[in-house]
Amino acid sequence: MNWINAIIQGLMLGGLFALFACGLSLLFGVLGIINLAHGDLAVLGAYVAVALLPSVHSNALWALLFVPPMFAIFGYGAQRTLLQRSMQSGPLTTLLVTFGLSVVLQNALQEGFSADSHSLSVGSLVTKAFHPASSISISYLRLGILVAAVIILVTVQLFLAGTSTGRQIRALSDDVEAASIVGINTRHVAGVAAAIAFATVAVAGLADGMYAQFAPTSGSQLLLFGFEAVIIGGLGSLWGTLLGGCVLGLAQTIGAQADPTIGVLVAHLVFLAILAVRPSGLMPATVEA
């Protein structure tokens, strides 16, 4: 693989991590939930596609039409029932609840689908590439995922900034009590935020499944990178998360170009280095005292 493609792949991974982390940020910023099951939700999305697509050879791009909406409804429901309840018990509880859910999900997937890897077929798209120069090859799939991730992030950002519901979500993330006394139906708005979070994580899971193999335990890796992206980028900033994701993605692919076995390690080390030197991140919205 040439270096340009490695950079594209690094940026694509960045977009993927950012898309994944978008849901994470929403859940944390608005609902105060650190969702340790977020990675497993992404993998669940991919497995739902596997289960519902008519055959192994069906083009998984169709799944983008029905899995995210399913997850949006699932997210709204989960928020109104379980998550709302555990939110009232405090941050420690939600951490433990989501961790427990993560374990349940991973093992349930293992029981249902076995521990083997799967992948989502996108037909011939997986090999199609264009060649801007004779030695440079850019994969359509990877570029497409990057573009899709950026579009979705921009859309979410515009929604939060420009719509009434978006403003209500932002108000909710600032002050739940004040939100309720000005007339915001906090439970419903929290549900909408969760729905968006779940829908974005479904897209991230599908995209991840399209370009790489996945197994029931793949969620953990995605979760770690998602959080690292948020931390590198700085809490509270969606664009920071995109930047953080790209830093991680590039670290991983460039590291892998040098030595295929150290890609993931390099990414984690870059994260730890940034944590040591600049703990509030590269583009923080607020700086921790």
Binding site: L224, I231, V264, L265, L269
Partner: protein, 348 residues
């Protein structure tokens, strides 16, 4: 002059004859001492009474107990919810392996490996303490992953597939099993004693304050970072000892096993089910977990699904765990609190 004497006499006359007394123990804890000693004696004698399979099972029980108690100290008292303690299980196991490969008797290597974990934990604490809450949890997990990835690169330690622990082949298997059992029992008792001492000490009082309100604790002068760091080191020590025991009892060290995040899952479940923030809780939790694991062991991943669900339910609806349900009457077998006797009620 006479006025002063008059005032002093009046003050003396109105002062209480005897001030309030502060007690550390409770009636229940005093009652528990007898049976506790008996239980310890029985446990010590066990290898002579039961077959080697049972002692091996109990070794695993003690390992889990140690992990549960130390995680409880971390999360229940210091508020440090870590999902990365497996880092120190791994380091403890691999350190023991390394020492064994270099001619040190594994049982001798056990305490050295544990201390080594505490030493490694010291600089790492500075790194992970930069994060809070859920981000701290993730940070600890990342540290564990990095350590695992780094360890795998060393082929002399077995690389990705693991390797056997040398130095124990000369032992008769039954004797080895018994000595391993006693080592595990000793580690468990020491950990319990250690946690008890920490919690009874000033650090323990500081931790209780931190647990209730960190900002307020800082405001009254509690050295919060120092207290947390001490707990983090003690927990690393415990996890390291557990890792060393794992290496010895399994005679084999595999990275996926010792560095796996499933250990954090076990620790968390044990503490959640038994009751977070009490010393008695992890003991009950480990017993319940173990019973469940043994009865469901042939069901594959189901026992984890069930355990996970139970833990989730308890986290939301029974926050204080099983011990918490029994604790309605302030039952304490391990007296780490303070009771004030003889104080006058009413306003100051």
């Amino acid at each position: 002059m006479a006025e002063q004497v008059e005032l002093d006499k009046r003050a003396a006359a109105t002062a209480p004859a005897r001030g309030p007394r502060i007690l550390r123990s409770t009636r229940a804890s005093r009652w528990a001492i007898g049976p506790g000693v008996v239980a310890l004696a029985v446990l010590g004698y066990l290898p002579y009474l039961v077959d080697p399979n049972s002692t091996t099972t109990l070794v695993n029980f003690f390992i889990l107990l140690v992990l549960g108690m130390t995680w409880n100290l971390l999360a229940g008292y210091a508020g440090l919810v870590s999902v990365g303690q497996q880092a120190y299980i791994g380091i403890g196991a691999y350190a023991t392996l390394w020492f064994a490969q270099h001619g040190v008797e594994p049982f001798v290597a056990l305490p050295i490996a544990a201390v080594f974990c505490a030493v490694v934990a010291f600089p790492l604490s500075w790194l992970v303490f930069r994060l809070r809450g859920g981000y701290f949890a993730i940070g600890t997990w990342v540290v564990a992953e990095v350590l695992a990835l780094l360890t795998i690169r060393d082929s002399s330690l077995g690389g990705g597939t693991g390797t056997n622990v040398p130095g124990l082949d000369g032992f008769d298997p039954v004797v080895l099993g018994a000595i391993t059992y006693w080592a595990a029992l000793a580690v468990a008792v020491l950990t319990l004693a250690g946690c008890y001492i920490v919690l009874r000490s000033r650090v323990g009082l500081a931790l209780t304050a931190v647990r209730d309100d960190e900002t307020a604790a800082r405001a009254v002068g509690v050295l919060v970072p120092r207290a947390k760091r001490i707990v983090y080191l003690v927990a690393a020590l415990g996890a390291g000892a557990a890792g060393a025991l794992l290496a010895i009892s399994q005679l084999n060290v595999q990275p996926n096993n010792v560095y796996g995040v499933q250990w954090s899952a076990y620790m968390i479940f044990v503490v959640l089910i038994g009751g977070i923030g009490t010393l008695e809780g992890p003991i009950i939790g480990t017993i319940v977990f173990f019973v469940l694991q043994q009865t469901l062991s042939d069901q594959g991943a189901w026992y984890l699904i069930i355990l996970g669900s139970v833990a989730v339910v308890m986290a939301v609806w029974a926050r204080r765990g099983l011990w918490g349900l029994l604790d309605r009457w302030g039952l304490r077998l391990f007296p780490v609190g303070y009771r004030v006797l003889g104080a006058r009620s009413g306003r100051l």
